[in-house]
């Protein structure tokens, strides 16, 4: 007679149940937290190292973009502006804070300002990748 060990209280199953216990709650919470705060989704899942690396990279890129006098898109007049705005919105709360403080609201005067604008857009796109990664960790698609 064969017995399945799938639901038995083996050491392996105990470890698995403890692990999943830390990931209870709303499934999309890491995704939303990761979008609002860069690295936040990973911090929520107790992936401190990964979260810190993502936060430093994304926030660093965003801040350097602002320091280069990059433009933060506020409205969209043509297709390129729409794409830029979509990328910027990926930054979550840093985007909202920069808009509230009036940062990135300058006319492009120097060559590096164009790089800065791209840095801010790409930081937003990378943040979306990081948030989706946090969601994959939460659902168990990735370990």
């Amino acid at each position: 007679m064969r017995y399945s060990q799938k639901c038995m209280a083996t050491e392996e199953n105990k470890k698995t149940s403890t692990k999943s216990g830390a990931q209870e709650g709303f499934v999309y919470l890491p995704l939303i937290a990761g979008w609002l705060v860069p690295g936040g989704g990973h911090f929520l899942l107790r992936k401190w190292g990964r979260g810190a690396l993502l936060a430093v990279s994304i926030l660093g890129m965003f801040v350097l973009g602002l320091a280069m006098q990059g433009k933060v898109y506020s409205n969209a007049h043509d297709i390129l502006d729409i794409l830029g705005l979509a990328g910027d919105l990926g930054n979550g709360l840093p985007y909202v804070i920069s808009r509230m403080l009036g940062l990135g609201d300058v006319q492009v005067m120097v060559t590096t300002a164009d790089y800065g604008t791209r840095f801010i857009v790409v930081a937003g796109l990378l943040n979306i990748i990081a948030a989706v990664d946090a969601h994959n960790l939460r659902t168990g698609r990735k370990s």
Partner: protein, 63 residues
Amino acid sequence: MGNWVFQPSHFAAVLLFALFASTVFGVTMREKPRDMIRYGIYCFVLFVASAIALSWLMYFIAR
């Protein structure tokens, strides 16, 4: 940001971009730390190498 303006050279901007993007790619695209580091370095080298190659290509096209 006050009056502080960061004005890196073109190559420094490429290096910074490659560093941040490859860090995120490494962390999100691989599962084990060792694989993350290897993939991150791989992406960084590809970013920088392709930027240099394209720069030379544009230099010769412009002449």
